[in-house]
Protein backbone atom coordinates (compact mmCIF):
# COMPACT_ATOMS: atom_id res chain seq x y z
CA UNK A 1 0.00 0.00 0.00
CA UNK A 2 1.55 3.23 -1.10
CA UNK A 3 1.21 6.42 0.93
CA UNK A 4 -0.99 7.86 -1.80
CA UNK A 5 -3.41 4.97 -1.61
CA UNK A 6 -3.56 5.30 2.15
CA UNK A 7 -4.14 9.03 1.91
CA UNK A 8 -6.97 8.56 -0.57
CA UNK A 9 -8.60 5.87 1.56
CA UNK A 10 -8.42 8.10 4.64
CA UNK A 11 -9.82 11.10 2.76
CA UNK A 12 -12.70 9.07 1.31
CA UNK A 13 -13.39 7.70 4.78
CA UNK A 14 -13.52 11.21 6.22
CA UNK A 15 -15.85 12.29 3.39
CA UNK A 16 -18.29 9.47 4.09
CA UNK A 17 -18.22 10.06 7.84
CA UNK A 18 -18.73 13.83 7.57
CA UNK A 19 -21.60 13.33 5.11
CA UNK A 20 -23.29 10.87 7.47
CA UNK A 21 -22.74 13.13 10.47
CA UNK A 22 -24.20 16.07 8.56
CA UNK A 23 -27.35 14.10 7.92
CA UNK A 24 -27.60 12.67 11.44
CA UNK A 25 -26.62 15.73 13.48
CA UNK A 26 -29.29 16.76 15.94
CA UNK A 27 -28.75 20.49 15.60
CA UNK A 28 -28.97 22.22 12.26
CA UNK A 29 -25.88 24.35 12.77
CA UNK A 30 -23.81 21.24 13.40
CA UNK A 31 -25.14 19.92 10.12
CA UNK A 32 -23.76 22.99 8.36
CA UNK A 33 -20.37 22.57 10.04
CA UNK A 34 -20.14 18.92 9.06
CA UNK A 35 -21.15 19.60 5.48
CA UNK A 36 -18.48 22.31 5.34
CA UNK A 37 -15.97 19.69 6.43
CA UNK A 38 -17.30 17.37 3.74
CA UNK A 39 -16.74 19.99 1.05
CA UNK A 40 -13.18 20.68 2.26
CA UNK A 41 -12.40 16.95 2.28
CA UNK A 42 -13.58 16.62 -1.29
CA UNK A 43 -11.40 19.54 -2.24
CA UNK A 44 -8.40 17.70 -0.77
CA UNK A 45 -9.35 14.63 -2.80
CA UNK A 46 -9.33 16.71 -5.97
CA UNK A 47 -5.82 17.95 -5.16
CA UNK A 48 -4.66 14.36 -4.74
CA UNK A 49 -6.28 13.53 -8.08
CA UNK A 50 -4.13 16.18 -9.78
CA UNK A 51 -7.10 18.47 -10.37
CA UNK A 52 -5.72 21.46 -8.50
CA UNK A 53 -7.95 23.98 -10.25
CA UNK A 54 -11.04 22.03 -9.29
CA UNK A 55 -9.73 21.77 -5.74
CA UNK A 56 -9.46 25.54 -5.47
CA UNK A 57 -12.86 25.98 -7.10
CA UNK A 58 -14.38 23.52 -4.65
CA UNK A 59 -12.89 25.43 -1.72
CA UNK A 60 -14.08 28.79 -3.01
CA UNK A 61 -17.54 27.90 -4.23
CA UNK A 62 -18.67 24.96 -2.13
CA UNK A 63 -16.76 25.31 1.13
CA UNK A 64 -17.08 29.09 0.94
CA UNK A 65 -20.21 30.26 -0.81
CA UNK A 66 -22.59 27.32 -0.62
CA UNK A 67 -21.92 26.67 3.07
CA UNK A 68 -22.60 30.32 3.88
CA UNK A 69 -25.77 30.28 1.79
CA UNK A 70 -26.99 27.23 3.68
CA UNK A 71 -26.17 28.97 6.96
CA UNK A 72 -28.20 31.97 5.77
CA UNK A 73 -31.13 29.71 5.03
CA UNK A 74 -30.96 28.33 8.56
CA UNK A 75 -30.74 31.82 10.06
CA UNK A 76 -33.73 33.00 8.06
CA UNK A 77 -36.04 30.22 9.10
CA UNK A 78 -35.03 29.77 12.71
CA UNK A 79 -35.44 32.46 15.30
CA UNK A 80 -32.94 30.64 17.45
CA UNK A 81 -30.21 29.02 15.43
CA UNK A 82 -29.56 26.21 17.84
CA UNK A 83 -32.78 24.36 17.35
CA UNK A 84 -33.02 20.63 17.62
CA UNK A 85 -34.50 18.86 14.67
CA UNK A 86 -37.35 16.55 15.39
CA UNK A 87 -35.63 13.21 15.11
CA UNK A 88 -37.68 11.53 12.44
CA UNK A 89 -37.87 7.80 12.95
CA UNK A 90 -35.94 5.94 10.31
CA UNK A 91 -37.64 2.83 9.03
CA UNK A 92 -35.70 -0.18 7.80
CA UNK A 93 -36.75 0.22 4.17
CA UNK A 94 -34.76 3.38 3.33
CA UNK A 95 -31.68 2.01 5.09
CA UNK A 96 -31.91 -1.28 3.19
CA UNK A 97 -32.50 0.56 -0.08
CA UNK A 98 -29.48 2.80 0.48
CA UNK A 99 -27.35 -0.19 1.53
CA UNK A 100 -28.37 -2.12 -1.58
CA UNK A 101 -27.59 0.87 -3.78
CA UNK A 102 -24.20 1.28 -2.14
CA UNK A 103 -23.47 -2.43 -2.53
CA UNK A 104 -24.34 -2.33 -6.23
CA UNK A 105 -22.13 0.68 -6.84
CA UNK A 106 -19.19 -0.76 -4.87
CA UNK A 107 -19.50 -4.06 -6.72
CA UNK A 108 -19.56 -2.08 -9.93
CA UNK A 109 -16.40 -0.25 -8.90
CA UNK A 110 -14.66 -3.55 -8.21
CA UNK A 111 -15.43 -4.65 -11.73
CA UNK A 112 -13.98 -1.56 -13.39
CA UNK A 113 -10.62 -2.31 -14.96
CA UNK A 114 -8.04 -0.52 -12.88
CA UNK A 115 -6.76 2.05 -15.30
CA UNK A 116 -3.26 3.32 -14.75
CA UNK A 117 -2.99 5.81 -17.58
CA UNK A 118 -3.75 8.81 -15.49
CA UNK A 119 -2.22 12.13 -16.11
CA UNK A 120 -2.23 15.58 -14.62
CA UNK A 121 -3.71 18.29 -16.80
CA UNK A 122 -2.62 21.87 -16.70
CA UNK A 123 -5.21 24.61 -16.61
CA UNK A 124 -4.40 25.47 -20.23
CA UNK A 125 -5.76 22.15 -21.41
CA UNK A 126 -8.83 22.64 -19.24
CA UNK A 127 -9.53 26.09 -20.60
CA UNK A 128 -8.86 24.94 -24.16
CA UNK A 129 -11.46 22.25 -23.68
CA UNK A 130 -13.95 24.46 -21.91
CA UNK A 131 -13.75 27.43 -24.25
CA UNK A 132 -13.49 25.68 -27.60
CA UNK A 133 -14.93 22.20 -27.82
CA UNK A 134 -17.46 22.62 -25.07
CA UNK A 135 -18.14 26.34 -25.19
CA UNK A 136 -21.84 25.56 -25.51
CA UNK A 137 -21.86 24.31 -21.91
CA UNK A 138 -20.70 27.68 -20.63
CA UNK A 139 -23.36 29.34 -22.77
CA UNK A 140 -26.01 27.13 -21.23
CA UNK A 141 -24.63 27.72 -17.73
CA UNK A 142 -25.01 31.42 -18.51
CA UNK A 143 -28.68 30.88 -19.40
CA UNK A 144 -29.21 28.91 -16.19
CA UNK A 145 -27.63 31.72 -14.19
CA UNK A 146 -29.71 34.32 -16.04
CA UNK A 147 -32.96 32.64 -15.12
CA UNK A 148 -31.72 32.03 -11.57
CA UNK A 149 -30.72 35.68 -11.26
CA UNK A 150 -34.03 36.98 -12.57
CA UNK A 151 -35.97 34.53 -10.45
CA UNK A 152 -34.08 35.12 -7.21
CA UNK A 153 -34.24 38.90 -7.53
CA UNK A 154 -37.96 38.68 -8.14
CA UNK A 155 -38.62 36.32 -5.25
CA UNK A 156 -36.38 38.04 -2.72
CA UNK A 157 -37.14 41.71 -3.30
CA UNK A 158 -39.51 43.65 -1.10
CA UNK A 159 -43.11 43.76 -2.13
CA UNK A 160 -44.72 47.14 -2.66
CA UNK A 161 -47.60 47.62 -0.27
CA UNK A 162 -47.45 44.10 0.96
CA UNK A 163 -48.61 43.29 4.45
CA UNK A 164 -45.77 42.43 6.76
CA UNK A 165 -45.81 38.81 7.81
CA UNK A 166 -47.86 38.23 10.92
CA UNK A 167 -45.91 37.53 14.05
CA UNK A 168 -46.04 34.01 15.23
CA UNK A 169 -47.30 32.67 11.97
CA UNK A 170 -50.65 32.15 10.36
CA UNK A 171 -52.68 29.27 11.72
Amino acid sequence: MTPETLLMAVLLGIAVVTALLALLAREVVHTIIWIGGFFVTLSAIYFVLYAAFLGVLQLAVYAGAVTILLLFAVMVIKKRIFVREAGAGVGPVPILLALALGAVLVALAAGVPGGTAYSAYDVTALSANLFTRNGAWLLLLGLVMLSALAGSIHLAREMRGAPSPPRGGVP
Binding site: L23, I77, G102, N134
Partner: protein, 105 residues
Protein backbone atom coordinates in the same frame (compact mmCIF):
# COMPACT_ATOMS: atom_id res chain seq x y z
CA UNK B 1 -0.57 5.12 -7.81
CA UNK B 2 -4.07 5.26 -6.42
CA UNK B 3 -6.23 2.31 -7.38
CA UNK B 4 -9.06 3.62 -9.44
CA UNK B 5 -11.73 1.37 -7.98
CA UNK B 6 -11.09 2.82 -4.52
CA UNK B 7 -12.32 6.20 -5.66
CA UNK B 8 -15.27 4.75 -7.52
CA UNK B 9 -16.26 2.67 -4.50
CA UNK B 10 -15.97 5.74 -2.29
CA UNK B 11 -18.19 7.78 -4.57
CA UNK B 12 -20.67 4.90 -4.69
CA UNK B 13 -20.88 4.85 -0.89
CA UNK B 14 -21.29 8.65 -0.84
CA UNK B 15 -24.12 8.36 -3.37
CA UNK B 16 -25.79 5.81 -1.11
CA UNK B 17 -25.40 8.20 1.85
CA UNK B 18 -27.03 10.98 -0.17
CA UNK B 19 -29.87 8.71 -1.19
CA UNK B 20 -30.33 7.68 2.43
CA UNK B 21 -30.65 11.35 3.33
CA UNK B 22 -33.21 12.00 0.60
CA UNK B 23 -35.25 9.01 1.68
CA UNK B 24 -35.25 9.66 5.42
CA UNK B 25 -34.89 13.39 6.07
CA UNK B 26 -37.93 15.60 5.71
CA UNK B 27 -36.45 19.00 6.51
CA UNK B 28 -35.81 21.34 3.61
CA UNK B 29 -32.22 22.16 4.63
CA UNK B 30 -31.34 18.53 5.19
CA UNK B 31 -32.91 17.52 1.89
CA UNK B 32 -30.93 20.25 0.17
CA UNK B 33 -27.74 18.97 1.80
CA UNK B 34 -28.51 15.42 0.71
CA UNK B 35 -28.94 16.65 -2.84
CA UNK B 36 -25.64 18.53 -2.59
CA UNK B 37 -23.91 15.34 -1.43
CA UNK B 38 -25.20 13.53 -4.52
CA UNK B 39 -24.11 16.43 -6.73
CA UNK B 40 -20.61 16.32 -5.23
CA UNK B 41 -20.48 12.60 -5.86
CA UNK B 42 -21.17 13.27 -9.52
CA UNK B 43 -18.42 15.91 -9.61
CA UNK B 44 -15.98 13.55 -7.89
CA UNK B 45 -16.79 10.86 -10.44
CA UNK B 46 -16.24 13.20 -13.36
CA UNK B 47 -12.86 14.28 -12.01
CA UNK B 48 -11.78 10.73 -11.21
CA UNK B 49 -12.79 9.41 -14.63
CA UNK B 50 -11.03 12.36 -16.20
CA UNK B 51 -7.82 11.57 -14.32
CA UNK B 52 -7.87 8.00 -15.58
CA UNK B 53 -9.06 8.70 -19.11
CA UNK B 54 -6.87 7.32 -21.85
CA UNK B 55 -6.22 9.28 -24.99
CA UNK B 56 -5.11 12.78 -25.87
CA UNK B 57 -5.19 15.41 -23.18
CA UNK B 58 -7.78 17.71 -24.70
CA UNK B 59 -10.35 14.90 -24.68
CA UNK B 60 -9.38 13.47 -21.33
CA UNK B 61 -9.84 16.77 -19.56
CA UNK B 62 -13.51 16.86 -20.56
CA UNK B 63 -14.48 15.41 -17.20
CA UNK B 64 -12.81 18.31 -15.41
CA UNK B 65 -14.62 20.73 -17.73
CA UNK B 66 -17.93 19.14 -16.74
CA UNK B 67 -16.91 19.45 -13.10
CA UNK B 68 -16.27 23.18 -13.47
CA UNK B 69 -19.72 23.64 -15.01
CA UNK B 70 -21.35 21.52 -12.30
CA UNK B 71 -19.80 23.52 -9.46
CA UNK B 72 -21.28 26.68 -10.97
CA UNK B 73 -24.63 24.99 -11.52
CA UNK B 74 -24.86 23.73 -7.94
CA UNK B 75 -24.10 27.15 -6.46
CA UNK B 76 -26.76 28.71 -8.69
CA UNK B 77 -29.30 26.15 -7.54
CA UNK B 78 -28.63 26.77 -3.87
CA UNK B 79 -29.09 30.51 -4.43
CA UNK B 80 -32.52 29.94 -6.00
CA UNK B 81 -33.46 27.68 -3.09
CA UNK B 82 -32.54 30.40 -0.61
CA UNK B 83 -34.63 32.92 -2.58
CA UNK B 84 -37.66 30.64 -2.42
CA UNK B 85 -37.21 30.20 1.33
CA UNK B 86 -36.94 33.98 1.77
CA UNK B 87 -40.14 34.54 -0.20
CA UNK B 88 -41.95 31.92 1.86
CA UNK B 89 -40.62 33.52 5.01
CA UNK B 90 -42.13 36.84 3.98
CA UNK B 91 -45.59 35.41 3.40
CA UNK B 92 -45.58 33.18 6.45
CA UNK B 93 -43.88 33.99 9.71
CA UNK B 94 -40.59 32.42 10.71
CA UNK B 95 -42.08 29.74 12.90
CA UNK B 96 -44.61 28.69 10.34
CA UNK B 97 -42.02 28.40 7.61
CA UNK B 98 -40.02 26.05 9.78
CA UNK B 99 -43.17 23.98 9.98
CA UNK B 100 -43.86 24.25 6.26
CA UNK B 101 -40.32 23.19 5.52
CA UNK B 102 -40.86 19.89 7.23
CA UNK B 103 -42.04 18.47 3.95
CA UNK B 104 -44.56 15.70 4.05
CA UNK B 105 -44.85 13.04 1.45
Amino acid sequence: MIPFDDILAGSGILFAVGTFGVLTRRNFILLLISVEIIMNTAILNFIAFSAYAPGPSILGVTGQAVAVVLVGLAATEVAVGLAIVLALNRVRGSVDVAKAMDLKL
